[in-house]
Symmetry: D2
Subunit: 280 residues, 4 copies
């Protein structure tokens, strides 16, 4: 399946500003970038790419010294090679079999304070026998108890608040999924992505849980098909996967995001086969 994704971010620069953008599609085994392009306006601004950990996030540092209007536009054609995963029955994760690379996704993070959720997670989900069953139950519980309400939360909102507040956006749904997994000793990480059929179009967030040695994709919002996600980055939570970190004085003006399937037939057919998805 091929997708065409794009994003355009514009700002009013008030003084010398450095941006760290995190808007490029990730390069992974499951995701090939066929072509991609970055354009700024004004042009001739140096763009310095660097990775935040292998395959984790492709950051762009852009230093804008001239006040006034600034815009960055990214477009890419991306091909996904996804496989459906099947788990053996009754498998439940043991901490002694977690791959070292996954261990740090067990730790509490800024928006996912798993250290305060052990009892809650245990009472709600511990009796479910398999890891896959637990994460599925977590997603169903989130979908049932939390309302998706645009603008209901802000950049300070963390998973603990979402439990009592019972409303949020995709970012909050992802944080809540992650915090419950980690509280059950299941590594879980935050996914920033372009999402096909997201309405209204925007950056999207969901999460991956570590099950039987694989990172499996989950989205408790049920807003988009899972096989239409083009990954931008994974991280501990929204704190290290934000699409823009701004150092200086710049007012955000506009964000325009799009994600289109280049062959809708192929996409629909793939959907019939892909139930449980692992991006590698």
């Amino acid at each position: 399946m091929k997708f065409k994704v794009s994003s355009e971010l514009s700002y009013n620069i008030k003084s010398d500003t450095t941006f760290f953008f995190n808007i490029q599609a990730a390069q992974t085994k499951s995701q090939t970038i066929i072509e991609e392009q970055l354009v700024t306006s004004p042009g001739k601004i140096k763009i310095e790419p660097f990775d935040l950990g292998v395959r984790k996030a492709r950051f762009l540092r852009v230093h804008v010294t001239k006040p006034g209007h600034f815009k960055i536009n990214y477009t890419a054609t991306v091909e996904l090679h996804l496989k459906s995963v099947r788990f053996k029955k009754e498998s439940d994760l043991k901490a002694n079999t977690i791959h070292p690379d996954a261990v740090s996704y067990l730790f509490p993070s800024r928006y996912c304070q798993a250290d305060r959720m052990y009892k809650f997670a245990e009472m709600e989900f511990k009796n479910i026998k398999t890891t896959y069953g637990k994460v599925t139950a977590i997603c169903n519980w989130i979908y049932k108890t939390v309302h998706y309400v645009s603008g209901s939360t802000n950049a300070n909102t963390s998973a603990i608040e979402t439990i009592t507040q019972r409303e949020g956006v995709c970012r909050d749904f992802a944080h809540l999924g992650i915090v419950m997994c980690r509280a059950l000793s299941i590594p879980a990480r935050y996914i920033a992505a372009y999402a096909y059929q997201l309405n209204p179009p925007d950056f999207h967030a969901c999460f991956e849980a570590y099950i039987d040695g694989k990172w499996i994709l989950f989205d408790a919002t049920r807003m988009v098909p899972l096989h239409g996600l083009v990954k931008i980055a994974h991280g501990y939570d929204a704190a290290d996967t934000s699409f823009a970190n701004i150092f200086g004085e710049a007012d955000p003006l506009n964000v325009v995001v799009s994600c289109e399937a280049l062959d809708k037939k192929a996409f629909e057919n793939a959907g019939k086969k892909l139930k449980t998805i692992s991006y590698e």
Copy 2:
């Protein structure tokens, strides 16, 4: 300078438990491990070492299946090669010159919610002209406003609470230093260490700030000489540098830590020269 460090952790195992221990001295350019030893009781328990990021933390995974008393003992002789650092005057960090490896230490984390501290940090410290001056002022402010009180905080306490609570332990002092640095766009990371002359002996915590391309050591507690620290790990905060993560049922029984200088004369002489220290 050479130090002999040791730690002994004991537990009452109630059912099958996996530990991730983070108690070994780090292997860095500034810190050579001359010899080290791990002993468990009962013996013949497999210890699986793995790194959590290069030079960041040396984890040990230990899977204990037998109920009852379990003990792990680590001893090492470590040599430090420290240099004093001098900064040019008036240098203030710019986000466009931060090394990519340091960027993630700008992000908010579990116990260091820098995203909620921008205004506070700006009002208190922004007018100070150099990065080094800012971090020094932060440490002086912490020392002046926060009381060191054993047992006053717990594993949930984060930097935001310490500001109003005004008491804490070394871990809280470090978190507060880190949160203020990050809120001023200065990368900062948590340091877990053995500390010579710490009284009573225990694991210690302090922090490093990124200044002119170097990680400089700071300790707002003023409890120990900075050149007597044997690093165990650095991380975002206490969430990823805990000396033990426990998955299973095990009650902690005892923690015994020690750190001795093998040549006290050399240590004292070094103290006269080492003011601003960078561990590499």
Copy 3:
């Protein structure tokens, strides 16, 4: 039914200290004080009684100037005249019928932040048709989801934290009941009491909800019979009903509380008839 209650609080006075004690049985229509006695040690210390609102709380101000051991002992014989209340079916409280005296028990308070619980309460309990049914459902939900664990919380713990923490003591159970009622626009107040058959003996806390013009007693802990409670005070929450407020320097040494039924047969017989209780 008659009860004999007593409490003895002792302190080590370090410097001039003023206490506000709230340990006397309340004088209400349903509760007659047959005799009561206050003794301090050392003696000859002035005790100044004053009420915090009519029938709300009987405070005692005691000013201790002499350092050293101080003890206050209260004993009383109290008679309860309780009636069982029956509600008409399908009655649901309307804000336009609440008695003005009950209105302030709708507002959020220190430990019962109802303003942050509207959505949660609505999703969990709003569909239940009667006010009595709602409060009963709230109590059942608390009993099911929160574990009673001695020492699991402290004086800072509020209802919001108990929801995620899922453990607490009688005070936390009461706060959680109150916060849910208020979030559903049902006035609710905190009750401090002596409790017959509480094991181990201690001060107890529960709550009252305003139903059909009456204050009805509820206790989500299910630890004691509702008709064995001798009320000390009601208030917004634990903030204004604490058994002792201390201004000065005094270390608490000991608290001994007791509550005995003077006629156990009468108590048992009463229990058969008293299901829904309103203290007036």
Copy 4:
């Protein structure tokens, strides 16, 4: 001095709604209501007045059953009789001399969690010798460290957050003043008021501290002259003094507030004499 005050609140009623309005000028020894008027649109809606404690707040209950536009308009002419208060030097409040009526203003409340501020308040303000000096120092400290920023906080914001956030509106300034007073064992209460010369016109909030047996007015915002305040209510904090509590479904449309001095000359002259003001 005479003032003409008015407020007009309009709503879109979606279903049967009960309002508790708290917009009328208080009737106190220092404040005489010469005339006042309440008008609703549509008309012929029953308005039920009741007091929330003597002289504390004059609530209006209004039950609107008809969907559509609803408006309530209050106007009053109010005369103030203020006296300047002089304190003897070096007087510092003792808990054993507080009038019983003031005691409950020592307790922590929803937005003023004094129980978590003891150490902070002690370190910042305890060394100041007089109660008046302490409260003045608190106001100066708030004015210096907190920025007045419209819209920077919301109905959930409490004093603890304002300390780290360092911005807020009049309500947050008042809460911060109250929390610091209470943490120093000085009773303090929240004042809702009409304010002459407030720009832009709106409801205003400030606080009173209990000094030498009198309630003294303080306003850390320094936005309006203290002798131009027409009191609406006092309470524990914003939780029990809100200008409107809404039970039902009604969207707020508009709030228009005004406060004019009827004799500006008299007002100016009074300002020369009135420094420390006690409303009785």
